[in-house]
């Protein structure tokens, strides 16, 4: 036993001056730690200098912040913002307390709009496609060259007299930009389609047919006593959530009023359902029939005033008489007693308000659903009264309709594109390549269009298909205006001003970004178009529009001279006139809409589940997927982020042995499938699956591409034949386990630890409930 130790000593003596590996690593580690600590204690390099800038405008003083009022262009209804700018850099976004839409509040989308300005994936110069279409290979090109190429292509159309082969697809535009676009496209002889992933065709049609309104009315949530909402997740994503959420606070806890009651009808347990006093899960697509059932109870139980009853025609009463709660309860999936109870409460709490939207409007009978829901407001006398539906006046400046074109329009366009009838496609702010179902044919058809050019800041899926990309200024660098839709019950126009200088202006005139309207204004003379605009730049046009408002000498800002008025408008973020309310007549009760049941084409045995896609809280319908803050905004129900998940009823999941994080393949009747992460949830009715919209981009930058799955792509292109709207909630699917597993990225712990109250369940949905009801 001694021998080895002797040998050991010998070896040590021989190597006494050598550095062992361990000693070397210790010394390196020690000296590195020392260096780091020493450096960390010192003054940072940048603090050793004071920068004396080349030019110093008044708003660039070191240490002084400036707050500029402008608009958020990430939200569907632009919210008024004030942006903190320090040394010429936008730092923080807050809600504009003056702006009537949001009154000082602002959404996560507004907050994240800073990340759009500073996004590392922003396109900073015009790009020309060099590889095959859709491969995303582009080369830099100067502005003059890019605009010359567009002019050239459009001039060819003019010489061939094929101006109708030019189509422009944009996001819904309003006010001055809408006006310029309209003049440009119609002046050229082309067509303008406004695209939204979740279109508002059925709702706008319902407003027209039920209330004879071209403009979306305001819902007076704050003064309402009882709200019955169908499908619209208005406390989270629908239409104007910040405004509605603020009103909801008043509705629940307003001073000198009783707490309002909210009942939400929805096949999905949404954030609005979670906030409601009662969530009524319904068989998808039967919302309109339920509304007729409620009307039936109100009429048959004498809950309606005589004047309203007398204004109903015998035909109307005959239709409603057919829909007794007992008769419809099996189809609708709601207990007859519950329908009676809701009808009694709805009619006895004046003013009561019925709102519809979301998946309720996205069935093959979506238009009927909307008409039936909004028609209910007549029955309880809530049309044109405080606490009900308040009509909006005409906007203060001429504005094109903000409503999106219908799915049918895009399907027709795709067919025209496939037939080679479209020669030039211009895209701005819209991503139909992402949002239209693959079966619509749009994706394939884009390969048939000879020339596509996109005005875009990011390489989204549609922009990636373009031959030429023109980068636009970010909203914080640019002028603009917006007429909110819906307006708050009176005339309002928001003005957007640049809060910082264009980020890429240092790249020179040939590179960098430009204003979209200025691009069109610049192209017009080359194409021989006279747009008859009141200015030569978009800024001048905006000022001319403001000058018209100043001459009217009314509203939130009046001034002796135009300059004072203009500064006042910019300081307050817009102009509004609380006295300019709807002046038209309140329409008398319209006819009861013709009942229509939802259609689901495919066999229940093959495709047993209803698929209800829903708009994501943060990234919306995919337009916000490039902003990491929005990606990280947790879904209010599941707390999941950054992924696409599948909400499935816990009992359904148990039967299929699906647990959270299992990768599930969802296949629609169109044969397309996507992979999603399972999220068994007690708040999902059996037989219904919910998947968030917004992920699964093919391109779009580091934060959005190759992440999650695009649920829109697998939808079967069912439409509401009456309106041409996409019935995006009418797809039936089947699911299979792929055998893979991935952790669902979420903030909350697993649902097994959810606190349960054995006597009074927070969420009561079991397969047994609906079966025992019938």
């Amino acid at each position: 036993m001694r021998l080895p130790s002797v040998q050991c000593v010998t070896i040590r003596n021989e190597n006494i001056m050598d550095l062992t590996r361990r000693q070397f690593l210790q010394m390196v580690g020690g000296s590195a730690t020392g260096a780091v600590l020493f450096a960390a204690c010192g003054v940072p390099e940048e603090s050793r200098y004071i920068n004396s800038p080349h030019q110093m405008p008044e708003d660039l003083v070191t240490g002084l912040d400036n707050w500029y009022a402008t608009l958020c262009r990430q939200c569907t209804t632009s919210e008024g913002l004030v942006v903190r700018v320090v040394e010429g850099r936008a730092k923080k976004v807050e809600g504009n307390v003056d702006y009537p839409i949001n009154l000082g509040k602002h959404s996560a989308k507004c907050e994240a709009s800073l990340q759009s300005l500073y996004n590392p994936d922003r396109i900073d110069r015009p790009l020309l496609r060099v590889g095959d279409r859709g491969k995303g290979e582009f080369n830099e090109i100067g502005w003059s060259d890019a605009l010359a190429r567009i002019t050239n292509q459009l001039q060819i159309l003019q010489t061939q007299n094929k101006q109708n082969g030019f189509v422009m697809i944009t996001d819904p535009l309003s006010a001055h930009l809408g006006d310029v676009t309209q003049r440009f496209v119609s002046g050229f002889g082309g067509r303008h389609l406004q695209y939204e992933t979740i279109e508002r065709t059925n709702i706008s049609r319902a407003m027209k047919e039920v209330y004879s309104q071209e403009i979306m009315p305001d819902f007076d949530i704050s003064n309402s006593a009882y709200i019955l909402s169908f499908g619209a997740d208005w406390l989270n994503t629908w239409t104007s959530p910040t405004r509605y959420m603020r009103a909801y606070g008043e509705f629940r806890q307003g001073k000198d009023r009783e707490r309002g009651t909210l009942v939400h009808v929805d096949p999905r347990f949404s954030a609005t359902a979670a906030n409601a006093d009662q969530w009524v899960p319904i068989n998808p697509g039967w919302e309109g029939i339920l509304a007729l059932g409620i009307a039936n109870v109100i009429l048959s139980d004498g809950l309606v005033s005589d004047s309203i009853r007398s204004s109903l025609s015998p035909d109307d009463i005959a239709i409603i008489d057919q829909y007794t709660p007992e008769k419809i309860s099996l189809d609708v999936g709601v207990n007859a007693d519950k329908i009676r109870l809701i009808a009694h409460e709805f009619s006895s709490h004046a003013p009561a308000l019925a709102i519809g939207g979301g998946s309720a409007a996205a069935h093959t009978n979506g238009l009927f659903n909307m008409k039936a829901v909004y028609w209910l407001n007549y029955l309880v006398g809530s049309v044109g009264v405080e606490g009900g539906v308040i009509f909006n006046p005409e906007p203060p400046v001429p504005s094109v309709g903000k409503y999106s074109s219908s799915f049918e329009d895009f399907r027709n366009l795709s067919q025209e594109m496939s037939r080679g009838e479209i020669s030039a496609l211009m895209i701005r702010g819209a991503d139909p390549w992402y949002g239209l179902p693959e079966d619509s044919g749009f994706r394939r058809a884009t390969f048939e269009v000879p020339f596509i050019f996109a005005v875009s800041n990011f390489l989204d899926d549609t922009t990636a298909m373009a031959d030429l990309i023109l980068p636009e200024n970010d909203a914080f660098e640019d002028w603009g205006s917006d007429i909110p839709d819906p307006a708050p019950g009176y005339q309002l126009i928001g003005f957007q001003q640049p809060v910082v200088r264009p980020f890429y202006e240092n790249l020179g005139d040939e590179l960098g970004t430009k204003n979209f309207a200025d691009i069109m204004i610049g192209l017009a003379p080359q194409l021989g178009l006279d747009l008859a605009l009141p200015g030569t730049t978009f800024t001048e046009i905006l000022k001319a529009g403001a000058e018209d408002l100043w001459r009217e000498n009314r509203g939130s800002i009046t001034a002796a001279d135009f300059d004072s008025f203009w500064y006042g408008v910019l300081q307050r973020g817009g102009w509004w006139d609380k006295d300019s309310k709807y002046q038209g007549t309140i329409p008398s009760v319209s006819n009861v809409p013709n009942p229509k049941s939802p259609k689901f084409d495919h066999s229940p045995s093959q495709f047993p589940y209803h698929l209800i896609p829903f708009t994501s809280t943060g990234i919306g319908d995919g337009e916000g997927a490039f902003l990491p803050w929005l990606q990280a905004t947790p879904d209010p129900i599941t707390t999941a982020t950054w992924q696409t998940w599948l909400e499935i009823n816990v009992y359904d999941a148990e039967k299929l042995e699906i647990s959270e994080g299992d990768v599930i393949s969802v296949t629609s009747a169109s044969g397309k499938s996507i992979d999603v992460l399972a999220f068994p949830h007690p708040g999902v009715p059996p037989g219904v699956l919910s998947v968030p919209i917004g992920q699964g981009h093919i391109s779009g930058g580091r934060y959005s591409e190759d992440r999650g799955s695009n649920i829109m792509s697998i939808l079967t292109p069912n439409v509401d034949e009456e309106s041409g709207a996409l019935a995006w909630a009418a797809t039936k699917v089947r699911i299979e386990k792929t055998g893979e597993w991935m952790r669902v990225p979420k903030l909350e712990n697993t649902f097994s630890e959810f606190p349960r109250d054995e006597n009074q369940h927070i969420i009561k949905v079991t397969p047994d409930e609906s079966s025992s009801d019938h």
Partner: protein, 237 residues
Amino acid sequence: MLPGDFDIQILKPTRKRVVLGLVALASTLGFLVVLGFVLTFILSSWWARPIVFGYDEGPDQPIAFPHTTHVQDLGMECTFCHRNVEKGASASVPAVSLCMTCHKVVGDDSEEVAKLREYYDLGKSINWVRIHRVPDHVQFVHDAHIKHFSGEGKTVVETMTNPDSQIFLEDAKKMKRDSSINPGDIKDIESSEVCAVCHGDVASMSKVKQVRPLKMGDCVNCHRDNNAPAECAVCHY
């Protein structure tokens, strides 16, 4: 062994003693390492300042800007260039374009002006070497201090002749080299006349240097002398 010598019993290296010894050694080493870090922190935080236990010569600047010429000879007010000093936290250094309002035509024979024009022509900014700096956790607001010392009817407590002297204040101080002013006079004090309270007589410095320690003790003493609040959150917020 010598008689009378203590019988030093050599301790046998038992396992316990070896372990105890090693523990003691490790603790001592650990203590020394921690002490080293603490000393490094303290010393480096001082050495990294422009002054090391005293008052250094001012550093060389990218352009040898002579405050003497501009303030003493031409009589320009401090606030002409440091425009934000009455408005906000930072006094601000002037933009190159402001210098060029005069130096487009003035100073053709000066090498330093030539440097300035080069900066301007290239559209570059100048990185001046910072002389007065408080740490990041301290908020110093210029306008509040200027407003305290300047204004109408201030009593002159002490006049300054030596730019290196530290002066303690009670009400206001006339720092301009003006022989006609004496302590006890009631004067209207301009903003530009009180900069020297902290910065010394910059007007007479060809190279600007720090004249006061601007350490916490200095701040607190001055606050106490002037009945200004000295709570933590006044500066550390």
